[in-house]
């Protein structure tokens, strides 16, 4: 039962676009020592989200994916670059000017415990966006709150409850309902299921998909779980140290990763084997993700890359289209323009540390 790849067949207009987006955070050393340093959370990143698609963003912790999410909905100011929504640059809008944009651009947070104010009732939380944006009178709002609760699979009688009275999954549904309140066009979901129990995770993922169908939503879906991202996304962006290293339509990316990092991610992911098979050979990355305060020269991934060569230390590889619909930021991509696996990858992979 494959899911139709809508993005493939019908590329919609670009709704949300980031160009050369950069976000730096000043890091003050701890109180006694250290001058100011800069944490390069996102650097020179560009992407476009088309109507109706789900753009998955994957990467390990510290890769800047959450910062990206917040920049996209303007929860933080960006250091440089632009974010435009419907073609309009929203990077420099004031809070007041942003208000109408916010109706259409919503964020769903990771932690269902932290994202709901523990001291407000669910009904209050859900009606807040409507009060802000002037949805209607009290009764209209109350009615809509009930509808929202039902839409996300909660009991309408729960309006008077407090967040702590819900389970994690239910809270996340409340969070989704809040995002839906003003009928947004785009929802940026930042790790929306990673805090949930596995059995609940599936429920929420299904909800996301169902809502997309029902309300023609566009998602930017940020997650670290490759399985989850694959399940919901039509297109994938792989991030490493604040940069995009690969972007492609979902299935080709999973079948033949183009960037060594993507490949390593896929191989690292533990998976249940349906049948008894010989243990997979896999390449294990060594070391940890470098500190984003102190990024390596050249290709940021080179310190852990099994295929790294001397060029990688010298030159920063640009993100370029290596095959149709597929952009990779690597001097030695693993796929050829025809989509085949590159030769050097085979050899290197063979000698790689298959343990």
């Amino acid at each position: 039962m494959r899911r139709p790849e809508r993005a493939d067949s019908d590329p919609g207009e670009v709704l949300l676009e980031a160009r050369d987006l950069t976000k730096h955070f000043p890091v003050r050393g701890h109180s006694l020592v250290g001058g100011r340093q800069v944490l390069r959370a996102v650097e020179g990143l560009s992407l476009a989200v088309r109507a109706g698609e789900t753009l998955g963003v994957v990467g390990e912790s510290g890769c800047g994916k959450s910062t990206l999410g917040r920049c996209l909905v303007r929860l933080t100011d960006v250091t440089s670059g632009t974010v435009s929504f419907h073609g309009r640059d929203i990077t420099r809008l004031s809070r007041r000017q942003l208000r109408p944009v916010r109706r259409d651009l919503q964020l769903v947070f990771q932690d269902p415990y932290a994202s709901l104010n523990p001291r407000r009732r669910v009904g209050d939380i859900l009606s807040e966006p409507m009060q802000i944006h002037g949805y209607g009178d009290r009764r209209a709002i109350a009615r809509h709150v009930q509808e929202l609760l039902e839409v996300v699979g909660l009991n309408a009688s729960h309006v008077d409850r407090f967040p702590h009275e819900f389970s994690g999954g239910q809270r996340q549904r409340v969070g989704i309902a809040r995002a839906l309140a003003m009928n947004p066009k785009v929802i940026v979901a930042d790790e929306p299921v990673s805090a949930l129990d596995v059995s609940i995770q599936a429920q929420v993922l299904n909800l996301f998909l169902d809502l997309q169908d029902e309300f023609a939503l566009t998602y930017v879906f940020i997650a670290h779980d490759l399985g989850v991202v694959r399940h919901v996304s039509s297109r994938i962006v792989v991030m490493y140290l604040g940069e995009v290293v690969e972007t492609a339509v979902t299935d080709p990316l999973y079948d033949r990763p183009g960037h060594p990092y993507t490949e390593a991610l896929l191989q690292s992911a533990p998976d249940v084997e349906d049948e008894e098979v010989a243990p997979r050979e896999r390449i294990l990355l060594t070391g940890d993700v470098p500190n984003p305060v102190d990024k390596p020269s050249g290709c940021p991934f080179r310190t852990r890359c099994p295929y790294a060569q001397e060029l990688c230390a010298r030159e920063h590889p640009p993100l370029r289209e290596v095959a149709p619909g597929r952009h990779v930021a690597c001097h030695f991509p693993l796929v050829t323009p025809t989509g085949d696996v590159a030769q050097h990858a085979l050899s290197a992979g063979g000698s790689g540390s298959a343990r």
């Binding site: 039962m1 994690g168 596995v198 992911a269 294990l284 343990r355």
Partner: protein
């Protein structure tokens, strides 16, 4: 049993445990007195572990997986807690032992690794100090020797430049390195049993793979048995020999990995396997889900604990099913054992096709009525 040849020579007590089992847990029950009455976090859990074997305990939050192993080591300090049953470790009953007698066992015979490497080490001491402390807690060696050993251990778990890093504080390590250091600490006294409670949950996938790899290697080299607690079926399938699936404080299914993964019998195991999206498998339109939320230990159904969420629930489920179906592979379910694979398919189909069954507020997952399964006769 794999790797049995690597089992260290150990002295076995003369207890009732079978000669090959290192740990034999019988009818372990952990209960807490609360305002709402007595809550059983673990209810009649039994399992045994052979030397060198890896047991994976899987379950969602609140299933009692952590509590059960913590109770073995006497790590539950809550004065309202009560541990019953038997846990024979080399013939000595851990449950009955006093804390004083248990202490020399902790760390030396049975070591433990916890979930969050960020908080697992005391922040104010260096990594080396903490490893040395572990060594000196059980072996009467000089500080120097302990320190040298700490360096070796760090090297062994793959910390680069261990001689320098041994003087680092935990916060100066990355998450992965910290977990390696914790493992080094756990292995310091060559324990015969290593209990790892969600050792990789807080880590990134690439790091997780490294850690699992490390554990696999060390287990071979040190010959320790391992109890691995996780909620991730993928991790279990990666490393375990035996699998114990827990739900609401009870075993839902247990058996060798192959059996549990490839011929799962319990509807909960089905759910766990099927509801997780897979990075390497074909995409599905909708994920088959388990309805409802994990049971809270405060509110476990009187019969089959999984019944409220089970699509195959029927009257028999009001009665508590015992583990049966053995010898190696057992499950606690009233469904007929011979039709399980077939029923699993039905459940998946039903789950995917089904619309919202409505709010299952108080216990009541509606049963998919299309296939009323024939109850199996008692265990």
């Amino acid at each position: 049993m794999p790797e049995s040849s690597l089992v260290r020579e150990t002295v076995r007590g003369a207890g009732a445990a079978g000669p090959e089992s290192l740990l034999d847990v019988r009818d372990l029950t952990v209960s807490f007195r609360t305002r709402q009455g007595v809550v059983r976090a673990v209810d009649g859990l039994s399992f045994s572990l052979a030397p060198g074997e890896v047991l994976g305990i899987v379950g969602e939050s609140g299933s009692g997986k952590s509590v059960s192993v913590m109770s073995l080591l006497g790590l539950i300090r809550d004065p309202n807690a009560r541990v019953e049953g038997q846990a024979l470790f080399r013939g000595r009953d851990l449950v009955a032992m006093r804390d004083k007698d248990l202490r020399p066992l902790r760390g030396r015979e049975i070591a433990m690794i916890f979930q969050d490497p960020m908080t697992a080490m005391t922040p104010v001491y260096t990594v080396g100090w903490q490893i040395a402390e572990q060594i000196r807690a059980h072996d009467d060696v000089s500080k120097r020797v302990a320190h040298e050993r700490a360096v070796e251990l760090l090297d062994e778990v793959g910390i680069p430049d261990p001689r320098r890093r041994v003087g680092d504080f935990p916060h100066e390590f990355s998450g992965g390195m910290r977990q390696r250091a914790v493992i080094a600490m756990a292995l310091a006294n060559n324990p015969s049993l290593l209990i790892a409670d969600e050792p990789t949950t807080a880590l990134d996938v690439t790091t997780q793979a490294q850690i699992l790899d490390l554990m696999r290697r060390l287990r071979v080299e040190h010959g320790s048995s391992i109890i691995l607690i996780t909620h991730d079926m993928g991790v279990v399938s990666d490393i375990a020999d035996q699998v114990l699936v827990m739900y609401a404080g009870r075993a839902a299914e247990q058996g060798p990995k192959k059996d549990v993964f490839h011929r799962p019998r319990h509807p909960y195991t089905w759910g766990l396997l099927d509801s997780v999206p897979r990075p390497r498998a074909e995409r599905v339109r909708r994920l088959p889900t388990i309805p409802g939320s994990p049971a809270s230990p405060l509110d476990v159904a009187p019969g089959c604990p999984f019944a409220p969420r089970c699509r195959m629930r029927h009257e028999r489920c009001d009665e508590r099913p015992e583990l049966a179906g053995g010898p190696a592979h057992v499950d606690a379910c009233w469904l007929p054992r011979d039709r399980r694979q077939e029923l699993r398919r039905e459940v998946v189909e039903a789950a995917v096709a089904e619309g919202d069954p409505g709010d299952l507020t108080e216990h009541g997952a509606p049963l998919d009525a299309s296939t009323p399964p024939a109850p199996e006769q008692g265990p």
